[in-house]
Symmetry: C2
Subunit: 236 residues, 2 copies
DNA sequence: GTCTATACACAGATAGAC
DNA sequence: GTCTATCTGTGTATAGAC
Protein backbone atom coordinates (compact mmCIF):
# COMPACT_ATOMS: atom_id res chain seq x y z
CA UNK A 1 0.00 0.00 0.00
CA UNK A 2 1.28 3.46 -0.90
CA UNK A 3 -0.32 6.87 -0.38
CA UNK A 4 -2.15 6.87 -3.69
CA UNK A 5 -3.79 3.51 -2.94
CA UNK A 6 -4.74 4.74 0.49
CA UNK A 7 -6.51 7.84 -0.83
CA UNK A 8 -8.78 5.78 -3.05
CA UNK A 9 -9.59 3.30 -0.34
CA UNK A 10 -11.00 5.68 2.22
CA UNK A 11 -13.17 8.10 0.24
CA UNK A 12 -16.47 6.40 1.07
CA UNK A 13 -15.43 5.76 4.68
CA UNK A 14 -14.84 9.46 5.17
CA UNK A 15 -18.26 10.38 3.83
CA UNK A 16 -19.92 7.84 6.13
CA UNK A 17 -18.27 9.28 9.19
CA UNK A 18 -19.27 12.80 8.17
CA UNK A 19 -22.91 11.70 8.10
CA UNK A 20 -22.45 10.20 11.58
CA UNK A 21 -21.16 13.53 12.84
CA UNK A 22 -24.19 15.34 11.43
CA UNK A 23 -26.50 12.81 13.00
CA UNK A 24 -24.82 13.13 16.38
CA UNK A 25 -25.28 16.89 16.42
CA UNK A 26 -28.82 17.00 15.02
CA UNK A 27 -30.23 18.37 18.27
CA UNK A 28 -28.08 21.50 18.24
CA UNK A 29 -28.24 22.20 14.49
CA UNK A 30 -31.20 24.39 13.53
CA UNK A 31 -31.23 23.42 9.86
CA UNK A 32 -33.29 20.33 9.05
CA UNK A 33 -32.30 19.09 5.60
CA UNK A 34 -29.31 16.73 5.78
CA UNK A 35 -27.97 17.69 2.36
CA UNK A 36 -27.88 21.36 3.34
CA UNK A 37 -26.17 20.63 6.61
CA UNK A 38 -23.49 18.52 4.98
CA UNK A 39 -22.81 21.05 2.26
CA UNK A 40 -22.46 23.98 4.62
CA UNK A 41 -20.85 22.24 7.56
CA UNK A 42 -18.09 21.05 5.29
CA UNK A 43 -17.48 24.64 4.18
CA UNK A 44 -17.51 25.78 7.80
CA UNK A 45 -15.08 23.07 8.90
CA UNK A 46 -12.70 23.77 6.04
CA UNK A 47 -12.71 27.50 6.62
CA UNK A 48 -12.21 27.01 10.35
CA UNK A 49 -9.17 24.85 9.75
CA UNK A 50 -7.68 27.25 7.24
CA UNK A 51 -8.14 30.38 9.33
CA UNK A 52 -7.29 28.78 12.68
CA UNK A 53 -4.11 27.22 11.40
CA UNK A 54 -3.05 30.62 10.17
CA UNK A 55 -3.70 32.60 13.34
CA UNK A 56 -5.24 30.35 15.97
CA UNK A 57 -8.83 29.39 16.71
CA UNK A 58 -9.26 32.00 19.40
CA UNK A 59 -8.00 34.73 17.11
CA UNK A 60 -10.42 33.71 14.37
CA UNK A 61 -13.47 35.95 14.62
CA UNK A 62 -16.95 34.92 13.55
CA UNK A 63 -16.66 37.58 10.88
CA UNK A 64 -13.53 35.88 9.56
CA UNK A 65 -15.36 32.59 9.52
CA UNK A 66 -18.38 34.10 7.77
CA UNK A 67 -16.18 35.45 5.02
CA UNK A 68 -14.20 32.22 4.74
CA UNK A 69 -17.18 29.91 4.65
CA UNK A 70 -19.40 32.04 2.43
CA UNK A 71 -22.19 32.20 4.99
CA UNK A 72 -23.24 35.31 6.88
CA UNK A 73 -22.13 36.03 10.39
CA UNK A 74 -25.61 35.38 11.77
CA UNK A 75 -26.29 32.43 9.50
CA UNK A 76 -23.45 30.45 11.04
CA UNK A 77 -25.37 30.10 14.27
CA UNK A 78 -27.82 27.79 12.54
CA UNK A 79 -25.03 25.17 12.49
CA UNK A 80 -23.70 25.46 16.02
CA UNK A 81 -24.87 27.29 19.17
CA UNK A 82 -21.49 28.95 19.84
CA UNK A 83 -17.89 29.07 18.86
CA UNK A 84 -16.89 26.58 21.56
CA UNK A 85 -19.30 24.03 20.15
CA UNK A 86 -17.81 24.40 16.71
CA UNK A 87 -14.42 23.59 18.20
CA UNK A 88 -15.78 20.52 19.94
CA UNK A 89 -17.62 19.25 16.85
CA UNK A 90 -14.59 19.60 14.64
CA UNK A 91 -12.32 17.87 17.13
CA UNK A 92 -14.71 14.99 17.71
CA UNK A 93 -15.33 14.48 14.02
CA UNK A 94 -11.67 14.30 13.15
CA UNK A 95 -10.88 11.97 16.01
CA UNK A 96 -13.57 9.58 14.90
CA UNK A 97 -12.22 9.48 11.34
CA UNK A 98 -8.71 8.79 12.57
CA UNK A 99 -9.56 6.14 15.11
CA UNK A 100 -11.95 4.27 12.87
CA UNK A 101 -9.62 4.09 9.87
CA UNK A 102 -6.43 3.48 11.82
CA UNK A 103 -7.71 0.51 13.80
CA UNK A 104 -9.57 -0.94 10.81
CA UNK A 105 -6.45 -1.00 8.65
CA UNK A 106 -4.17 -2.39 11.34
CA UNK A 107 -6.57 -5.21 12.15
CA UNK A 108 -6.37 -6.47 8.56
CA UNK A 109 -2.87 -7.76 9.27
CA UNK A 110 -1.94 -10.90 11.12
CA UNK A 111 1.79 -10.75 11.96
CA UNK A 112 3.24 -8.01 14.13
CA UNK A 113 5.86 -6.79 11.68
CA UNK A 114 3.13 -6.05 9.14
CA UNK A 115 0.93 -4.56 11.82
CA UNK A 116 3.66 -2.18 12.85
CA UNK A 117 4.29 -1.12 9.27
CA UNK A 118 0.61 -0.66 8.56
CA UNK A 119 0.09 1.36 11.71
CA UNK A 120 2.95 3.67 10.77
CA UNK A 121 1.86 4.06 7.17
CA UNK A 122 -1.83 4.50 7.92
CA UNK A 123 -1.17 7.14 10.55
CA UNK A 124 1.19 8.96 8.25
CA UNK A 125 -1.17 8.80 5.27
CA UNK A 126 -4.09 9.98 7.37
CA UNK A 127 -2.10 12.94 8.62
CA UNK A 128 -1.11 13.72 5.03
CA UNK A 129 -4.69 13.61 3.78
CA UNK A 130 -6.07 15.52 6.75
CA UNK A 131 -3.04 17.62 7.55
CA UNK A 132 -5.04 20.77 8.44
CA UNK A 133 -7.15 18.84 10.91
CA UNK A 134 -4.18 17.13 12.56
CA UNK A 135 -2.36 20.40 12.99
CA UNK A 136 -5.47 22.09 14.29
CA UNK A 137 -6.23 19.30 16.70
CA UNK A 138 -2.72 19.37 18.13
CA UNK A 139 -2.66 23.12 18.59
CA UNK A 140 -6.17 23.61 19.93
CA UNK A 141 -6.62 20.65 22.25
CA UNK A 142 -5.53 22.74 25.20
CA UNK A 143 -8.46 25.09 24.53
CA UNK A 144 -10.96 22.33 25.11
CA UNK A 145 -12.56 22.26 28.52
CA UNK A 146 -13.36 19.54 31.00
CA UNK A 147 -14.64 16.27 29.58
CA UNK A 148 -13.75 17.14 25.97
CA UNK A 149 -10.16 17.63 26.97
CA UNK A 150 -10.15 14.23 28.62
CA UNK A 151 -11.56 12.64 25.48
CA UNK A 152 -8.73 14.13 23.47
CA UNK A 153 -6.14 12.79 25.89
CA UNK A 154 -7.79 9.39 25.98
CA UNK A 155 -7.71 9.23 22.20
CA UNK A 156 -4.03 10.12 22.15
CA UNK A 157 -3.28 7.40 24.68
CA UNK A 158 -5.29 4.85 22.69
CA UNK A 159 -3.19 5.51 19.61
CA UNK A 160 -0.03 5.18 21.62
CA UNK A 161 -1.28 1.95 23.14
CA UNK A 162 -1.91 0.58 19.66
CA UNK A 163 1.80 0.93 18.94
CA UNK A 164 2.90 -0.26 22.37
CA UNK A 165 0.79 -3.41 22.09
CA UNK A 166 2.21 -4.30 18.70
CA UNK A 167 5.75 -3.88 20.02
CA UNK A 168 4.96 -5.94 23.10
CA UNK A 169 3.38 -8.79 21.15
CA UNK A 170 6.19 -8.76 18.63
CA UNK A 171 8.67 -9.13 21.45
CA UNK A 172 6.71 -11.99 22.97
CA UNK A 173 6.73 -13.69 19.58
CA UNK A 174 10.49 -13.28 19.37
CA UNK A 175 10.33 -10.95 16.36
CA UNK A 176 11.71 -7.87 18.11
CA UNK A 177 14.56 -7.13 20.49
CA UNK A 178 13.66 -6.25 24.06
CA UNK A 179 12.95 -2.51 24.27
CA UNK A 180 10.59 -0.56 26.51
CA UNK A 181 7.30 -0.81 24.56
CA UNK A 182 5.73 2.34 25.96
CA UNK A 183 8.73 4.55 25.33
CA UNK A 184 9.17 3.04 21.89
CA UNK A 185 5.54 3.83 21.13
CA UNK A 186 5.97 7.39 22.40
CA UNK A 187 8.94 7.88 20.13
CA UNK A 188 7.18 6.50 17.08
CA UNK A 189 4.27 8.80 17.75
CA UNK A 190 6.45 11.86 18.09
CA UNK A 191 8.15 11.08 14.78
CA UNK A 192 4.77 10.71 13.10
CA UNK A 193 3.66 14.01 14.56
CA UNK A 194 6.58 15.78 13.00
CA UNK A 195 5.11 15.10 9.59
CA UNK A 196 2.03 17.23 10.13
CA UNK A 197 3.40 19.73 12.61
CA UNK A 198 6.48 20.72 10.63
CA UNK A 199 5.29 20.08 7.15
CA UNK A 200 6.99 23.12 5.65
CA UNK A 201 10.32 21.53 6.54
CA UNK A 202 9.60 18.45 4.45
CA UNK A 203 8.07 20.25 1.48
CA UNK A 204 11.06 22.55 1.42
CA UNK A 205 13.28 19.48 1.12
CA UNK A 206 11.02 17.70 -1.37
CA UNK A 207 10.49 14.65 0.79
CA UNK A 208 7.36 12.72 -0.17
CA UNK A 209 5.12 11.01 2.31
CA UNK A 210 6.16 7.62 0.93
CA UNK A 211 9.85 8.42 1.37
CA UNK A 212 9.24 9.53 4.92
CA UNK A 213 7.26 6.36 5.60
CA UNK A 214 10.15 4.22 4.41
CA UNK A 215 12.60 6.14 6.55
CA UNK A 216 10.55 5.81 9.71
CA UNK A 217 9.98 2.13 9.16
CA UNK A 218 13.70 1.60 8.66
CA UNK A 219 14.42 3.60 11.79
CA UNK A 220 12.00 1.65 13.93
CA UNK A 221 12.93 -1.74 12.55
CA UNK A 222 16.62 -1.18 13.10
CA UNK A 223 15.89 -0.21 16.68
CA UNK A 224 13.67 -3.23 17.24
CA UNK A 225 16.19 -5.50 15.53
CA UNK A 226 13.83 -6.90 12.94
CA UNK A 227 15.94 -9.42 11.05
CA UNK A 228 16.92 -8.81 7.43
CA UNK A 229 15.42 -12.15 6.43
CA UNK A 230 12.08 -11.12 7.88
CA UNK A 231 12.30 -7.79 6.08
CA UNK A 232 13.02 -9.31 2.67
CA UNK A 233 10.35 -11.97 3.18
CA UNK A 234 7.80 -9.19 3.59
CA UNK A 235 8.94 -7.03 0.65
CA UNK A 236 5.72 -6.44 -1.32
CA UNK B 1 26.78 15.14 33.35
CA UNK B 2 23.30 14.56 34.71
CA UNK B 3 20.39 16.98 35.15
CA UNK B 4 21.40 18.04 38.63
CA UNK B 5 24.94 18.95 37.49
CA UNK B 6 23.50 20.86 34.58
CA UNK B 7 21.24 23.00 36.75
CA UNK B 8 24.14 24.20 38.84
CA UNK B 9 26.32 24.93 35.86
CA UNK B 10 24.02 27.36 34.09
CA UNK B 11 22.65 29.61 36.83
CA UNK B 12 25.05 32.49 36.21
CA UNK B 13 24.82 32.10 32.43
CA UNK B 14 21.06 32.52 32.60
CA UNK B 15 21.34 35.72 34.63
CA UNK B 16 23.85 37.14 32.15
CA UNK B 17 21.56 36.55 29.22
CA UNK B 18 18.65 38.15 31.07
CA UNK B 19 20.71 41.30 31.49
CA UNK B 20 21.48 41.22 27.77
CA UNK B 21 17.77 41.06 27.00
CA UNK B 22 17.10 44.08 29.20
CA UNK B 23 19.92 45.99 27.54
CA UNK B 24 18.64 45.17 24.08
CA UNK B 25 15.18 46.53 24.87
CA UNK B 26 16.24 49.62 26.80
CA UNK B 27 14.86 51.95 24.15
CA UNK B 28 11.31 50.66 24.46
CA UNK B 29 11.25 50.22 28.25
CA UNK B 30 10.13 53.36 30.07
CA UNK B 31 11.62 52.39 33.43
CA UNK B 32 15.23 53.42 33.91
CA UNK B 33 16.66 51.47 36.86
CA UNK B 34 18.05 48.11 35.75
CA UNK B 35 17.30 46.38 39.04
CA UNK B 36 13.64 47.38 38.82
CA UNK B 37 13.36 46.24 35.23
CA UNK B 38 14.87 42.85 35.97
CA UNK B 39 12.69 42.28 38.99
CA UNK B 40 9.45 43.14 37.24
CA UNK B 41 10.22 41.79 33.80
CA UNK B 42 10.92 38.42 35.33
CA UNK B 43 7.52 38.50 37.02
CA UNK B 44 5.90 39.54 33.75
CA UNK B 45 7.62 36.79 31.76
CA UNK B 46 6.73 34.13 34.31
CA UNK B 47 3.11 35.17 34.48
CA UNK B 48 2.87 35.34 30.69
CA UNK B 49 4.16 31.79 30.38
CA UNK B 50 1.85 30.48 33.05
CA UNK B 51 -1.31 32.10 31.73
CA UNK B 52 -0.53 31.58 28.03
CA UNK B 53 0.28 27.93 28.46
CA UNK B 54 -3.06 27.51 30.17
CA UNK B 55 -5.24 29.25 27.59
CA UNK B 56 -3.06 30.69 24.84
CA UNK B 57 -1.29 34.02 24.50
CA UNK B 58 -4.07 35.59 22.47
CA UNK B 59 -6.67 34.62 25.04
CA UNK B 60 -4.60 36.12 27.87
CA UNK B 61 -5.92 39.61 28.54
CA UNK B 62 -3.79 42.43 29.89
CA UNK B 63 -5.99 42.30 32.97
CA UNK B 64 -5.09 38.63 33.43
CA UNK B 65 -1.45 39.52 33.11
CA UNK B 66 -1.77 42.39 35.57
CA UNK B 67 -3.23 40.09 38.16
CA UNK B 68 -0.69 37.36 37.47
CA UNK B 69 2.36 39.59 37.56
CA UNK B 70 1.27 41.77 40.48
CA UNK B 71 1.51 44.98 38.48
CA UNK B 72 -1.43 47.11 37.42
CA UNK B 73 -2.96 46.97 33.99
CA UNK B 74 -1.59 50.39 33.08
CA UNK B 75 1.75 49.85 34.79
CA UNK B 76 2.60 46.98 32.48
CA UNK B 77 2.99 49.38 29.58
CA UNK B 78 6.13 50.78 31.18
CA UNK B 79 7.83 47.48 30.27
CA UNK B 80 6.68 47.02 26.70
CA UNK B 81 4.81 49.20 24.19
CA UNK B 82 2.18 46.57 23.37
CA UNK B 83 1.20 42.98 23.76
CA UNK B 84 2.88 41.97 20.50
CA UNK B 85 6.19 43.33 21.74
CA UNK B 86 5.94 41.30 24.91
CA UNK B 87 5.54 38.19 22.78
CA UNK B 88 8.56 39.10 20.69
CA UNK B 89 10.75 39.90 23.71
CA UNK B 90 9.90 36.68 25.45
CA UNK B 91 10.54 34.60 22.34
CA UNK B 92 13.85 36.28 21.57
CA UNK B 93 15.06 36.00 25.14
CA UNK B 94 14.36 32.29 25.38
CA UNK B 95 15.92 31.58 22.01
CA UNK B 96 19.09 33.33 23.04
CA UNK B 97 19.37 31.30 26.24
CA UNK B 98 18.86 28.04 24.37
CA UNK B 99 21.23 28.74 21.49
CA UNK B 100 23.99 30.10 23.66
CA UNK B 101 24.00 27.25 26.15
CA UNK B 102 23.41 24.46 23.66
CA UNK B 103 26.26 25.40 21.34
CA UNK B 104 28.61 26.21 24.23
CA UNK B 105 28.15 22.78 25.80
CA UNK B 106 28.45 20.84 22.56
CA UNK B 107 31.65 22.62 21.60
CA UNK B 108 33.33 21.41 24.77
CA UNK B 109 33.51 17.91 23.27
CA UNK B 110 35.95 16.68 20.70
CA UNK B 111 34.67 13.36 19.31
CA UNK B 112 31.33 13.07 17.54
CA UNK B 113 29.85 10.35 19.73
CA UNK B 114 30.30 12.60 22.78
CA UNK B 115 29.04 15.61 20.84
CA UNK B 116 25.89 13.78 19.91
CA UNK B 117 25.26 12.70 23.48
CA UNK B 118 25.94 16.15 24.84
CA UNK B 119 23.65 17.77 22.28
CA UNK B 120 20.82 15.42 23.21
CA UNK B 121 21.31 15.81 26.95
CA UNK B 122 21.77 19.56 26.89
CA UNK B 123 18.68 20.11 24.77
CA UNK B 124 16.67 17.83 26.99
CA UNK B 125 17.92 19.42 30.22
CA UNK B 126 17.26 22.90 28.88
CA UNK B 127 13.72 21.97 27.97
CA UNK B 128 13.25 20.49 31.43
CA UNK B 129 14.55 23.59 33.19
CA UNK B 130 12.64 25.97 30.93
CA UNK B 131 9.68 23.78 30.10
CA UNK B 132 7.11 26.60 30.17
CA UNK B 133 9.15 28.65 27.74
CA UNK B 134 9.70 25.76 25.34
CA UNK B 135 6.04 24.91 25.29
CA UNK B 136 5.07 28.54 24.85
CA UNK B 137 7.57 29.07 22.07
CA UNK B 138 6.33 26.06 20.17
CA UNK B 139 2.68 27.00 20.47
CA UNK B 140 2.97 30.71 19.80
CA UNK B 141 5.55 30.88 17.02
CA UNK B 142 2.82 30.96 14.42
CA UNK B 143 1.48 34.15 16.01
CA UNK B 144 4.69 35.98 15.29
CA UNK B 145 4.65 38.18 12.23
CA UNK B 146 7.08 38.78 9.39
CA UNK B 147 10.76 38.94 10.32
CA UNK B 148 10.24 37.57 13.83
CA UNK B 149 8.64 34.47 12.43
CA UNK B 150 11.61 33.99 10.16
CA UNK B 151 13.98 34.31 13.10
CA UNK B 152 12.12 31.57 14.89
CA UNK B 153 12.30 29.28 11.87
CA UNK B 154 15.96 30.06 11.38
CA UNK B 155 16.67 29.17 14.98
CA UNK B 156 14.84 25.88 14.63
CA UNK B 157 16.84 25.04 11.52
CA UNK B 158 20.09 25.94 13.24
CA UNK B 159 19.39 23.46 16.01
CA UNK B 160 18.53 20.79 13.51
CA UNK B 161 21.70 21.55 11.58
CA UNK B 162 23.71 21.10 14.77
CA UNK B 163 22.49 17.52 14.96
CA UNK B 164 22.80 16.89 11.22
CA UNK B 165 26.40 18.10 11.20
CA UNK B 166 27.39 15.84 14.05
CA UNK B 167 25.83 12.86 12.31
CA UNK B 168 27.53 13.76 9.04
CA UNK B 169 30.96 14.18 10.59
CA UNK B 170 30.57 11.00 12.59
CA UNK B 171 29.82 9.14 9.39
CA UNK B 172 32.83 10.66 7.65
CA UNK B 173 34.96 9.54 10.59
CA UNK B 174 33.60 6.02 10.27
CA UNK B 175 31.90 6.10 13.67
CA UNK B 176 28.31 5.87 12.40
CA UNK B 177 26.49 3.82 9.79
CA UNK B 178 25.32 5.62 6.66
CA UNK B 179 21.92 7.21 7.34
CA UNK B 180 20.37 10.36 5.95
CA UNK B 181 21.78 13.04 8.29
CA UNK B 182 18.98 15.55 7.82
CA UNK B 183 16.18 13.09 8.40
CA UNK B 184 18.04 11.63 11.36
CA UNK B 185 18.38 15.10 12.83
CA UNK B 186 14.70 15.81 12.24
CA UNK B 187 13.77 12.63 14.06
CA UNK B 188 16.03 13.35 17.02
CA UNK B 189 14.53 16.80 17.30
CA UNK B 190 10.97 15.52 17.24
CA UNK B 191 11.76 13.06 20.01
CA UNK B 192 13.29 15.83 22.09
CA UNK B 193 10.22 17.97 21.53
CA UNK B 194 7.99 15.30 22.92
CA UNK B 195 9.56 15.84 26.32
CA UNK B 196 8.29 19.38 26.73
CA UNK B 197 5.16 19.19 24.61
CA UNK B 198 3.70 16.08 26.22
CA UNK B 199 5.17 16.37 29.65
CA UNK B 200 2.07 15.14 31.43
CA UNK B 201 2.56 11.77 29.74
CA UNK B 202 5.99 11.31 31.26
CA UNK B 203 5.15 12.59 34.72
CA UNK B 204 2.16 10.28 34.78
CA UNK B 205 4.53 7.38 34.12
CA UNK B 206 7.20 8.58 36.51
CA UNK B 207 9.91 8.80 33.89
CA UNK B 208 12.73 11.12 34.93
CA UNK B 209 14.57 13.36 32.53
CA UNK B 210 17.73 11.30 33.02
CA UNK B 211 15.92 8.08 32.18
CA UNK B 212 14.48 9.62 29.05
CA UNK B 213 17.93 10.90 28.07
CA UNK B 214 19.36 7.40 28.34
CA UNK B 215 16.56 5.95 26.26
CA UNK B 216 16.92 8.49 23.46
CA UNK B 217 20.67 8.03 23.36
CA UNK B 218 20.25 4.29 23.14
CA UNK B 219 17.68 4.69 20.39
CA UNK B 220 19.84 6.98 18.31
CA UNK B 221 23.04 5.02 18.82
CA UNK B 222 21.43 1.75 17.83
CA UNK B 223 20.13 3.41 14.68
CA UNK B 224 23.51 4.92 13.87
CA UNK B 225 25.25 1.65 14.66
CA UNK B 226 27.61 3.05 17.26
CA UNK B 227 29.73 0.08 18.24
CA UNK B 228 29.44 -1.45 21.68
CA UNK B 229 33.19 -1.02 22.22
CA UNK B 230 32.86 2.70 21.56
CA UNK B 231 29.93 2.89 23.92
CA UNK B 232 31.69 1.15 26.79
CA UNK B 233 34.85 3.19 26.19
CA UNK B 234 32.80 6.33 26.77
CA UNK B 235 30.92 5.16 29.87
CA UNK B 236 31.59 7.98 32.37
C1' DG C 1 -32.70 28.94 5.68
C1' DT C 2 -30.20 33.03 5.35
C1' DC C 3 -29.61 37.76 5.60
C1' DT C 4 -28.67 42.71 7.88
C1' DA C 5 -28.58 45.39 11.82
C1' DT C 6 -27.53 45.80 16.35
C1' DA C 7 -26.96 44.78 21.50
C1' DC C 8 -23.71 44.54 24.90
C1' DA C 9 -19.36 42.65 26.91
C1' DC C 10 -14.62 42.92 26.99
C1' DA C 11 -10.30 43.69 24.70
C1' DG C 12 -5.88 46.77 24.34
C1' DA C 13 -4.16 51.00 25.22
C1' DT C 14 -3.74 55.93 27.19
C1' DA C 15 -4.23 60.07 30.47
C1' DG C 16 -3.31 62.06 34.37
C1' DA C 17 -3.19 61.72 39.57
C1' DC C 18 0.01 60.44 43.10
C1' DG D 1 7.41 54.22 38.78
C1' DT D 2 2.86 52.83 39.49
C1' DC D 3 -1.83 53.45 40.05
C1' DT D 4 -7.09 54.23 38.74
C1' DA D 5 -10.25 55.69 35.47
C1' DT D 6 -11.57 55.76 30.95
C1' DC D 7 -11.48 55.85 25.67
C1' DT D 8 -12.33 53.29 21.60
C1' DG D 9 -12.30 49.23 18.77
C1' DT D 10 -13.67 44.57 18.16
C1' DG D 11 -15.62 40.35 19.84
C1' DT D 12 -19.76 36.97 20.24
C1' DA D 13 -24.32 36.43 19.84
C1' DT D 14 -29.29 37.68 18.90
C1' DA D 15 -33.60 39.86 16.70
C1' DG D 16 -36.33 40.30 13.16
C1' DA D 17 -36.85 41.06 7.99
C1' DC D 18 -37.16 38.39 3.83
Amino acid sequence: MNYSDFRNMIQTLKADIFRQTVEQNRDIILVTKEQTIIRNLEKIFDATLEISNEKGFHAMSMRDLAKGSGLSSGGLYAYFPGKKDLLRMLQEHGRKVVQEILFKFVDQNTDDVSKLRTAIKTHLYLSELMQPWFYFSYMETKNLSGPERENAIESEMATEKLFADIVQRGQDAGLFETRDPQLTAAIIKSILQDWYLKRWKFSRRNISVDQYAEFIIQFVEVFLGVHETEISRLKN
